[in-house]
Symmetry: C2
Subunit: 268 residues, 2 copies
Amino acid sequence: MLSKLIVEPGKSARLAERDPADQLGLGSKEEAEPRRLELLSELFALQDRLWAEARRSVLLVLQGMDTSGKDGTIRHVFTGLNPAAVADAAFKVPVGAEVEHDYLWRVHAVCPSRGEIGIFNRSHYEDIVTVRARQLQPKAVWSRRYRHVREFERMLVDEGTTILKVFLHISKEEQRERLQARLDEPDKRWKFKLGDLDTRKLWPDFLDAYEEAITETSTKWAPWYVVPADHKWVRNVAVASLLVDTLRALGPRFPAPAEDLTGVQVVY
Amino acid sequence: MLSKLIVEPGKSARLAERDPADQLGLGSKEEAEPRRLELLSELFALQDRLWAEARRSVLLVLQGMDTSGKDGTIRHVFTGLNPAAVADAAFKVPVGAEVEHDYLWRVHAVCPSRGEIGIFNRSHYEDIVTVRARQLQPKAVWSRRYRHVREFERMLVDEGTTILKVFLHISKEEQRERLQARLDEPDKRWKFKLGDLDTRKLWPDFLDAYEEAITETSTKWAPWYVVPADHKWVRNVAVASLLVDTLRALGPRFPAPAEDLTGVQVVY
């Protein structure tokens, strides 16, 4: 799974050539469901070891257009994990003390502790992609952030964090349907904002900005994965699978007891 | 003052060739005192503008051997400034959540806000110099931190912070006298720790570690200055002078009122 979705460091992300409706050979939604449950069960076991070990951390960065399924991915992949060992952070428009510091300040502050799996629902990539697509800052400002971000992530990795960056790739038509559903279905209407329609008009600008940002920041130490996200069941299996592969490669282990416990009995 | 004390980026710090007892042509302590007061007065005026402007920040990083005068420098250069606009952070041995994250996590968290002058009494350089001199981590760990630190500081500078790094340079004989004074004078004894004598035995290791760290991290965007610190009055004038030069170069200005106030009167 990892090798098909990765953006090879030094190569272009080629988003236009990646099909958002790809089913990754998973068959049907019904066939994929047991696969998802199996992955979650393994994820649960691996998380337990990572937490007990308390030496390293994992950081999942989720980016994607509006309605690409960032919230849904978190709900479907992380529900059932031990919340004590999950650090979830959602980044909205910066306010207050956040704007009084550099853009990485609020991000660094909520990076996962040793033993934790951190999830970034949006991230420092907004400070490149959104800033560029909305023309909030001149090119001189956002373009030098590629380097900042590569080096910031390098430091995190050197110091014990494994970073997994996922772009949830949906088609413009799929976004249309999902936005319409938010308008039509009473339980989803709370998620709809009129501003989303303005953002949708900037679709090509955001896509260009993502294309370049992913290309510039997919590194050996923190690669990007482009996950086809038109089918939610494909997306969920893909992200769970990426996480399991990442944790397996880390191979966390329960630590040995600090003292020799041979023959020790707990008495009444 | 800046040009004599700077460690030129790309060149060796050559600490052994820099005289800790250098008086920098300041004459005597008595002659230097009016100079210090003049500098503090200008610093006060410049700080006021930086704070009112609230766009940029200044960060003074103070490093040096035990007894080199980090605390004294802060007391003598910053007393009299508006404390609302000064952010002072002292870094001790990391504990708790600090060790559960990368070493820059606690440092980034207390970087100055826009408008502030930040002071680091010790800093992320302890994670290179002390870690190396005390052999707390293998070379593979501390040596890659040169790059982390250069890039971290580059990001801070790109995003609006001016960084001034000062190494307070004392001689081993001066340290002996100051440690002895801490033992002998009742008002200073609270500062003495027996561990300081063990650290003193590592003097050559710390000096080598500083020499290399300063050489590796004196950059165009965040240069190091080596301040002769055997004479406290020289040290105080030098640091105040470096700060004033830095702030003058920034040229902070009171912001224009947001609205046209011509003819506006405040009535009873």
